[in-house]
Amino acid sequence: MDLYAEHILEHHRHPRHKSPIANRTIEHAENNPACGDTLALELKIKKGKIEAAGWNGSGCALSQAGISMLLEKITGMSVSDVEKFSPKDMRSLLGVPLTTRRLQCAFLPLLALHNALRKSKGGQTETWPELLDQDQE
């Protein structure tokens, strides 16, 4: 299957959750140093669950579709499950073949999510190499 599969293009054209949310408990922004794509994520966490999620940003079809699909997936999930969401899970969520040159586009949403959750617990943020290492595992 092609990277520009219909479901990717559909999310790209009609992104879900692309708006600010009320009573957010965390906000976190990440960018892709290679291309300047930006992604700002907002989460409302209540009783250990992702109650609401929103985002804003600009970038390529893959990163924008990726955050749209990711937030659709994690809304309502428990924080402990979302924390375990791995690059492998992101690959299967996207469901298209990824080449090296597009890995950072594909994983920018995941990096933003991981780091938003880490930030909420006062932990150290994850770096790109650390995230890409998990993809090798």
């Binding site: 291309c35 300047g36 794509d37 930006t38 600009s58 390529c60 079809a61």
Partner: protein, 407 residues
């Protein structure tokens, strides 16, 4: 047109591959002609030795070749002396050398360095590092919408009296514009400031004379003018190099070393610690000689024609906006653009799938992209081996890519 592109293309093994893509990314790195590859291969296979060390004939010959390469660079840049040429790893290292050596030794808090908004990150970050370290000031010189440097901003900055160096690109790696480096250098000199020129893009497209420019520093890389990666050079006026402290410590850069101190060698060796890129120097020499043999008139007229074709082709595409110069005579080597509703990454990925190599991103010029109000752009760059047909074929390819994203 005097240049026979079939003859040029035959000299590039890359273009002899049965299925090769249309390569429109020479501003990032150019393909290599046979003569460069052969020179490096022959040297590595049969003449290889380290330089400036052995007293045996083989090492002496390698040293001769290395120094001949330095002299070829001198001739190519129209510099007065071969010892004004320091070999580096790249333009980036050469520009860092200016900041780390000259800048570190002479700049004080309150001194300023003026940069145009066109500059590549390698001409920006070393000065930002000195800003953090020593509190120097960075003064930005803006551009108009066509990419021309705002000369009155430069005049105003120089009028303050604290600008010690002006760093300016000779050819923008995004907009293809060519700031009037000679005039800028003259004005800077009258204000007591030095001038550093980033010639990374300029070097492969137009002749350079550091004597005519009367610039203080000029940096370039080997792999843009059809030579190898891993080698670049810094030109600096002889008296400047004499006054500058070494940049890296190690072998070859010293006169003597004792347990409690050292005396550096003379320039250029003072700045060439460690085993230099000898094979790459041999390749660079071959590349520069190859370019000079083709002749600048033919190079310039061929590439000017390609730029006209590029503008013609891009202008027919709905929703496409060319950044900077309005006409092809204002741009050289490259032209960048954005297409409404299409992210540069998606566009170049889809073009890549159709066999066209173009670069997308901020091209290591984020301040320029901020000024242009866009996060990224697509760049089409041309070289001697490109043809009119290759560029014309890009029009339908962009249309096909857009239809994938907007269907």
């Amino acid at each position: 047109m005097a240049l026979d592109s079939a003859v040029i293309r035959r000299q590039f093994p890359f273009l002899q591959e049965r299925k090769h893509p249309v390569y429109l990314d020479s501003a990032a790195s150019a393909q290599k002609p046979d003569c460069v590859l052969q020179a490096m291969d022959t040297f590595t296979r049969t003449r290889y030795a380290n330089v400036h060390r052995g007293l045996y004939a083989l090492s002496e010959q390698a040293t001769d070749l290395f120094e001949q390469s330095r002299n070829t660079v001198r001739t190519f840049l129209r510099a007065r002396h071969a010892d004004e040429i320091v070999f580096t790893k790249s333009t980036t290292e050469a520009l860092n050398l200016i900041a780390r050596s000259w800048g570190h030794a002479t700049l004080r808090k309150g001194d300023a360095v003026a940069l145009t908004i066109l500059e590549h990150h390698s001409a920006i970050v070393p000065w930002l590092q000195l800003k953090e370290e020593k509190g120097i000031e960075i003064v930005w010189i803006g551009i108009d919408d066509q990419g021309n440097v705002q000369r009155e901003e430069l005049t105003r900055a120089l009028g303050k009296g604290n600008v010690r160096l002006v760093s300016v690109t000779g050819l923008s790696n995004v907009l293809g514009v060519r700031p009037p480096v000679g005039e800028i250098a003259a004005e800077a000199r009258r204000a007591g400031a030095l001038v550093a020129v980033d010639a990374a893009q300029w070097i492969g497209h137009h002749p350079i004379s550091v004597r005519e420019l009367d610039c203080d520093f000029l940096a370039f890389s080997g792999h843009k003018p059809y030579g190898p990666t891993g080698i670049g050079a810094l030109y600096a006026k002889r008296e400047l190099l004499r006054s500058m402290p070494p940049f890296l410590g190690g072998g070859m850069m010293i006169r003597e070393v004792h347990r409690n101190g050292f005396t550096p060698a003379d320039a250029p060796q003072k700045f060439e610690a460690g085993t230099p890129p000898v094979t790459e120097a041999v390749g660079l020499k071959a590349a520069l000689e190859w370019l000079e043999a083709i002749g600048w008139n033919d190079i310039e007229s061929h590439e000017a024609h390609l730029m006209r074709v590029a503008f013609d082709t891009l202008r027919t595409i709905p929703g496409l906006r060319i950044l900077g110069p309005k006409t092809p005579d204002g741009a050289s080597g490259c032209v960048s653009f954005v297409v409404e509703g299409t992210h540069p990454h998606d566009l170049t990925d889809l073009l890549g799938q159709q066999g066209f190599c173009l670069r997308a991103g901020h091209h290591c010029a984020q301040p320029l992209h901020e000024r242009l109000g866009i996060p990224a752009s697509v760049r089409l760059s041309v070289a001697l081996y490109n043809t009119e047909e290759e560029i014309r074929a890009l029009g339908p390819a962009i249309a096909r890519a857009r239809s994938v994203l907007s269907k």
